[in-house]
C-alpha cells in the first residue's frame, strides 16, 4: 500500500484499496441494499406473465406469416359452402359467404394487431412529448395542456372515436387515429408525472449549470426515468386498442368488407346467431385472450419495475 502517504496530502479517495461504504446504506443503520433482481429475472418468476408473453409472440408470428399459415384465401367466397359447422376441411367452419373462418381468423390477427400498434403509436407520439413538456415547463404551459388532456379523458372514448370516424370517414386507419387520440391522455399523465418526479432533482439543475440544452436534458436525463412506466402503458393500451378496434369494426366503422378483422367477424357472427352459433366463438375467444394477455404482460412489467425500484 502507499508508503509515501502523509496525512496532510490530499488523499485519493481510495488509496487503501478498500471499498468506501456508500454512506446511504450504512449511515442510516440499514444494511447494504440487497442487490435488486433484474427486470427480466423478475418477470421470469411470474408464470402468468410468461404464458401471456408467449401467447402474444405466437400471435405476432401468426400475423406476420398469415399468408403461409392460412389454409384458404380468407376473402374467397364459396356460396355452396355457406355456414358450415366445423369439419375436417374447414376446422372452424365457414361464414355466411362460405369463407373459411380459420383463415379469416388468422388474417384478422394481422389486422387487429397492426391496428392496435397504430393506435398505441399515435397515443405515444402525442402523449409522451406533451407530457414531458408539461412536466418540465410547469406553469401555464402545464395548466393548458393538462386541461386539454383532462377534457379528452373525460369524454366517453368510444363515442368520441365514432364522432371522429364520422367526420374523417370510416376505415381502419381513421378509426385507429381516433382510438390513439383518445388514449393519448394516459401517456400524457404518466410522462408528466415521471418528469415532475425528477424535474427538481439536483442532477437536472447540475445539467443546466453545465450548459446542457433543454432537449439533451429531456432525452438523456429525464426520459430514462419516464420510460419504464410508459412501457407499461404501451402494453395496456395495446390491449385496449384491440378491444376498441373490435368494437368499431363490429359497428362497421373500422375495417371495411371484405377484409377480415376480429371485430368484423364478430359482427358477421351476431347476424347469423341463430343459424350458426359456432361463429361467435373464434373471434370472441381471440379478442378476450389478446386483451387479457396484454394486460398480464403489462402487469408483470409493472410488478417487476416496482420490485426493481424498491430494491434500489
Amino acid at each position: 500500500m502507499s508508503a509515501n502517504q502523509t496525512p496532510s496530502a490530499p488523499a485519493p479517495g481510495n488509496d487503501s484499496g478498500l471499498a468506501e461504504v456508500p454512506a446511504a446504506a450504512i449511515g442510516t443503520g440499514e444494511p447494504e441494499p440487497v442487490a435488486a433482481p433484474g427486470i427480466l429475472k423478475s418477470i421470469v418468476r411470474r408464470p402468468a406473465t410468461i404464458a401471456a408473453g408467449v401467447f402474444l409472440l405466437v400471435l405476432t408470428f401468426i400475423a406476420i406469416f398469415a399468408p403461409a399459415l392460412a389454409p384458404y384465401d380468407p376473402d374467397v367466397q364459396n356460396l355452396l359452402l355457406r355456414l358450415r359447422p366445423p369439419n375436417a376441411e374447414h376446422w372452424l367452419g365457414t361464414d355466411d359467404y362460405g369463407r373459411d373462418v380459420l383463415s379469416r381468423l388468422i388474417f384478422g390477427a394481422r389486422v387487429s394487431l397492426w391496428a392496435a400498434l397504430q393506435a398505441a403509436a399515435v397515443a405515444l407520439v402525442l402523449g409522451l412529448p406533451l407530457g414531458m413538456i408539461a412536466g418540465y415547463r410547469g406553469g401555464w404551459v402545464d395548466a393548458i395542456l393538462t386541461r386539454i388532456m383532462d377534457a379528452l379523458m373525460s369524454a366517453p372514448s368510444l363515442v368520441l372515436a365514432i364522432t371522429i370516424v364520422a367526420v374523417l370517414g370510416a376505415g381502419i386507419t381513421n378509426a385507429m387515429l381516433a382510438i390513439g387520440l383518445v388514449m393519448a391522455p394516459r401517456f400524457f399523465r404518466v410522462a408528466r408525472a415521471g418528469t415532475m418526479d425528477v424535474r427538481h432533482e439536483t442532477y437536472i439543475e447540475a445539467s443546466i449549470a453545465l450548459g446542457c440544452s433543454t432537449l439533451r436534458i429531456a432525452v438523456r436525463h429525464v426520459l430514462p426515468n419516464v420510460l419504464p412506466p410508459i412501457i407499461l402503458v404501451i402494453s395496456v393500451s395495446l390491449g385496449t386498442a384491440v378491444a376498441a378496434e373490435a368494437s368499431l369494426s363490429f359497428l362497421g366503422l373500422g375495417v371495411q368488407a371484405p377484409a377480415a378483422s376480429w371485430g368484423s367477424m364478430l359482427s358477421t357472427a351476431s347476424s347469423n346467431m341463430r343459424l350458426a352459433p359456432y361463429l361467435v366463438w373464434p373471434p370472441g375467444v381471440m379478442i378476450f385472450l389478446a386483451v387479457l394477455a396484454f394486460t398480464y404482460v403489462g402487469d408483470g412489467v409493472r410488478r417487476a419495475l416496482v420490485r426493481t425500484r424498491s430494491g434500489n
Binding site: 479517495g13 456508500p22 432533482e201 439536483t202 442532477y203 449549470a209 453545465l210 450548459g211 436525463h221
Partner: protein
Amino acid sequence: MSLLEVENLTKSFSAGRDWLGRRTKWLNAVKGVSFTLERGECLAVVGESGAGKSTVGRMVLRLIEPDSGSVTFDGIDVLATKPKQLRALRQRMQMIFQDPYSSLDPRMTIRDAVAEPLLVHTDKDRATREKEAVELLDKVGIGSRYLERYPAELSGGQLQRVAIARALTMKPSLIVCDEPVAALDVSVRAQVLNLLRDLQEELGLAYLFVCHDLALVEVIADRVMVMAAGEVVETDTTDQIFANPRQEYTKKLLAAIPVPLPRDAQGNRLVAPGRVG
C-alpha cells in the same frame, strides 16, 4: 477588472396564492446584495439557513433569475445573454452542489457523467472525451477504478470528488460551491476541502463558497461575506472577520462554533495541558 461583479441583486419568492391563483405574500429572499470576486480568489458567503446565500450563488449562474440587479462575469452582462450564449458561458462558470447523492444522474456511469460537458460543448470524439475524463478523475483522486460504476455504488466523499471533476471538465475560471462538504463526514470533509484548495492553487480558480459553517471558512476563504435575512451584514478579509468582527451578528456566529474542548463536572471548559490560555 474583477472576474465577477455583482450589484444590487434582489429576489423575492411568493409564499402563497389567493383564490384566483395570483401570487401573494412576497418573501424577500435576497435584498440588494453587491460584491466583487477577483480571479483566483475565494469569497465565502456565510449565514444561517434562510439567509439567502444559496439563492445568491444560483443567481450568479442564472439558475434563478434575479428580480433586479446586475451580474458581470469577465465583462459580460450575464443577465442579458441569450439562452444559447448563456449555455456557452456556463463552460466558464460552474457549480458544485451540497448533496453529492443527488447531483449526479443515477442512471449515468461515472465516466459518462464526467465526459458529458465535453460532449455538450466540444466536438471531440468519444475516445478523446473518455481519455480526458479519466485524467480529471485522476486529478481529484478517484482514479480509473469506478469508470463503469453508477453513483449509487460510491460513497458521499467519492461522489463529491466526481462532481468536482465534472465541474472542472471545461476549465472554468469560477466555481460556485454550494455547501460542498455539509453532507460529508468530518474526516472526508477535510479531504474534500484540501482538494478544493489544491485545485484552486493549481488552476487559479475563483470560488464563491456558500457555507453555513464559519469554522470551515477560515481554511479556504480569502474574504468572507456574512449574510442574514437576505442582506449583507459585513464583508471583510478572513483574518479580519475572525480577529476583529465588527457586527454583533458575526460575533454571535463565531461564538457558536463548537470548540473541541471537553467540560468538567461543573460544565466549565477544560484547558489543554501544556498550553497557556
